[in-house]
């Protein structure tokens, strides 16, 4: 069996244009693969993909809903991007999202006697802290006890979601409807709307500020340098006098905190209460968002918007064409894999081996 006929040969120079265009090529290629799957399901891929874009961008309502969906994705995407930059494998954004949502709901349904300009920052603060602490636990387990962060962050997602379910089916159950959801949060805790006749809320500003803040953090601060160095080469970082343990712990808090903010936004900006399925997997989509955005905060902003198009548009597509909206999940997986396959072209080119 002649095994590898082609070999990857190291490139001498990577063109920066190519680097920027690669994600777009990846999206194109992943649509080709997605089309094959839609064809196998006996549907027309062209109308299906057209209806995704039409549903997400073609109407005022669709476009604004896409922005609403982008808000949590920007935040979970940034959370994952920051963690991955420091090689803290935070796959736990989903759990941290719920931790943030839970804490914000607790404060929101306590009906504190506060005006909204104090209530909302308080919600954001407790949400950030809750998400941050939920991520600090695996950060601590990684640095001090050498427990694999991938496994711990993933398992903590299940634990947090069961915990939220226990609370919603128990003490917080809505006494009016008896559904497993909390009561409505205080009016003063609700995020203001940004656009008339839409659901676009203040969370958008929070998410864009987070993008800018993380960009500055990574690019221009000493901590950001430590995070990048720890991610690139922990051994060398040690020689440079960087406290790797401390860096990972801080990374985990900030990353989890930002994922927690995503949860706050969904509670205070969109649903005004906590429900069991408040996240349809935003934490996991955050991984794809972060990777497609090249772990760059502004890249994350764009890629979150792209996946918001897919998720919003898929709902329209399922009504219009009968292709289920789970196609959005398939596209996410395919895009990540295609992107990953193409990342290799950053460094290598394929040459035939004689």
């Amino acid at each position: 069996m002649p095994f590898p006929k082609f070999r990857l040969v190291k490139r001498e120079k990577i063109s920066p244009t190519f680097r920027i265009f690669l994600p777009f090529i990846a999206i194109g290629v992943s649509f080709i693969f997605s089309s094959i799957i839609i064809l196998l399901a006996g549907k027309n891929p062209i109308t299906a993909i057209y209806s995704i874009f039409y549903g997400a961008l073609g109407t005022r309502l669709g476009f604004l809903e896409t922005i609403v969906k982008a808000i949590p994705l920007i935040l979970t995407g940034i959370a994952v991007a920051l963690a991955f930059t420091g090689k803290f494998w935070n796959i736990g954004a989903e759990g941290q999202f719920y931790a943030g949502a839970l804490a914000a709901t607790y404060v929101g349904i306590s009906y504190l006697n506060l005006p909204n300009f104090l209530y909302i920052p308080l919600l954001l603060l407790v949400g950030f802290i809750a998400g941050g602490l939920w991520a600090l636990l695996p950060g601590f387990l990684k640095t001090y006890l050498k427990a694999d962060d991938v496994v711990t962050t993933l398992l903590l997602n299940y634990i947090m979601i069961y915990f939220v379910t226990a609370i919603l089916e128990g003490p917080w159950r809505d006494p009016e409807t008896m559904w497993p959801q909390s009561i409505r949060i205080s009016e003063n805790a609700i995020f203001p709307k940004l656009i008339e006749r839409s659901r676009v809320h203040f969370g958008l500003i929070i998410s864009i500020l987070s993008v800018i803040a993380v960009y500055i953090l990574i690019k221009y601060t000493k901590l950001g340098f430590s995070i990048r160095a720890t991610g690139a080469n922990p051994k060398a970082s040690n020689f440079l006098g960087i406290d790797i343990k401390k860096t990972i712990l801080i990374t985990s808090i900030i990353s989890g905190g930002i994922a927690g903010l995503a949860g706050v936004g969904e509670v205070a900006g969109l649903h005004y209460r906590l429900t069991e399925n408040i996240s349809p997997g935003y934490g996991y989509t955050g991984i794809v968002v972060a990777m497609l955005g090249g772990l760059n905060p502004f890249g994350v902003l764009l890629s979150a918007f792209f996946f918001a198009i897919i998720i919003t548009g898929a709902q329209y597509m399922s009504r219009a064409t009968g292709v289920t909206m789970f196609m959005a999940d398939v596209i996410q997986g395919i895009t990540l894999l295609v992107l990953l396959a193409m990342l290799i072209f950053y460094e290598y080119e394929i040459r035939r081996v004689e």
Binding site: A147, V150, I159, Y162, T165, I287, T324, D329, G333, L340
Partner: protein
């Protein structure tokens, strides 16, 4: 409370322990094979889910249980090849390619089920494997009903433990596999094809994960549910570390977690004044605790996470 401490309760508990350990034994053996060759396969959760669905659909349409097992194994092998393409041929991040495969396979499971079965209020059921009572042996008091009244997939899982211990430590292939995982440069110098060995390891690992997946829909439940695997793939990753990458210890770890799973189900049924979700959490909490206890002394295959590039 009194009826907990009866012989019947313990026989039921231990029998369920072995039953619930089955997918963990199979999947963890699969992960051990992958990691021993130097590749962390985080696709495990998604591979199990998709193969459980394919097994279910096969039986749904053909009523042939063994065909269901076979298709699940084939799905596992195909995903193993996909994982190998990323981690071996392209040599990209094993973390991200594994997660990518899990996300893709999970999405594909949701998509396939909804597209084929739709969203009925009661998921359609299939005829599953019956437990296979082994004559004579099952008559042994206490041990009989615990060990010899299980699903055939459980017996297969138990037999595969020594088989893989033998394969890894007593065969040339096992030696190649381990050397590729420990020191690929040296293995290559000795004439072992590192790429090929890793491809085969990921295919074998995938086959075991596929078999594990089939247990969920063809034995444990009689239907497909989106959360049917429920993180057991991630538990298997932890068990691989717990087992110190040794097939024999896989059995111990899987039984421990199968036991917790079986126990929490019974505690739920007894109905303490605690929300049932806290019992559901137990296996995950215990996994983290055990991981923390063993992590310091864990000695992973040296070349894990490192792609091999032949000069």
């Amino acid at each position: 409370m009194k009826d907990i401490l009866t012989v019947g309760f313990f026989i039921g508990l231990l029998s369920a322990t072995i039953r619930m350990a089955t997918p963990l034994i199979l999947a963890t053996l699969g992960e051990v094979v992958c990691e021993r060759s130097g590749v962390l396969n985080l696709g495990i959760e998604g591979i199990m889910l998709y193969s459980s669905l394919v097994a279910y659909l096969t039986v749904y349409y053909t009523n042939n249980l063994w065909l269901g097992v076979l298709t699940a194994i084939i799905v596992g092998i195909l995903f193993g090849i996909l994982m190998a393409f990323f981690s071996v041929s392209l040599g990209v991040s094993q973390h991200v390619s594994g997660l990518g495969i899990t996300l893709f396979a999970t999405g594909l499971s949701l998509f396939t089920y909804r597209q084929i079965i739709g969203a009925p209020t009661i998921p359609p059921t299939i005829q599953t494997f019956k437990t296979l009572t082994i004559p004579i042996l099952s008559q042994i008091p206490i041990l009989g009903p615990i060990l010899f009244d299980q699903y055939i997939l459980t017996y297969i899982a138990l037999i595969l433990v020594p088989v893989f211990a033998f394969l890894l430590y007593r065969t040339n292939f096992g030696l190649s596999l381990r050397s590729v995982g420990e020191n690929p440069e040296a293995a290559d110098a000795l004439g072992i094809n590192v790429y090929k060995t890793r491809y085969i390891a990921l295919m074998i690992g995938g086959a075991l994960m596929g078999l594990a997946g089939s247990f969920f829909t063809l034995a444990y439940f009689n239907m497909f549910l989106y959360g049917i695997v429920g993180g057991r793939g991630w538990v298997s990753i932890a068990l691989t570390i717990f087992a110190n990458w040794d097939p024999k210890r896989v059995l111990l770890g899987a039984l421990l977690f199968g036991g917790i799973d079986a126990l929490q189900l019974r505690l739920q049924a007894i109905g303490f004044n605690i929300p049932y979700q806290f019992f559901l959490m137990m296996p995950y909490v215990l996994t983290i605790v055990v991981l923390v206890l063993v992590a310091r002394n864990a000695l992973a295959p040296s070349s894990i996470l490192k792609p091999y590039k032949r000069e």
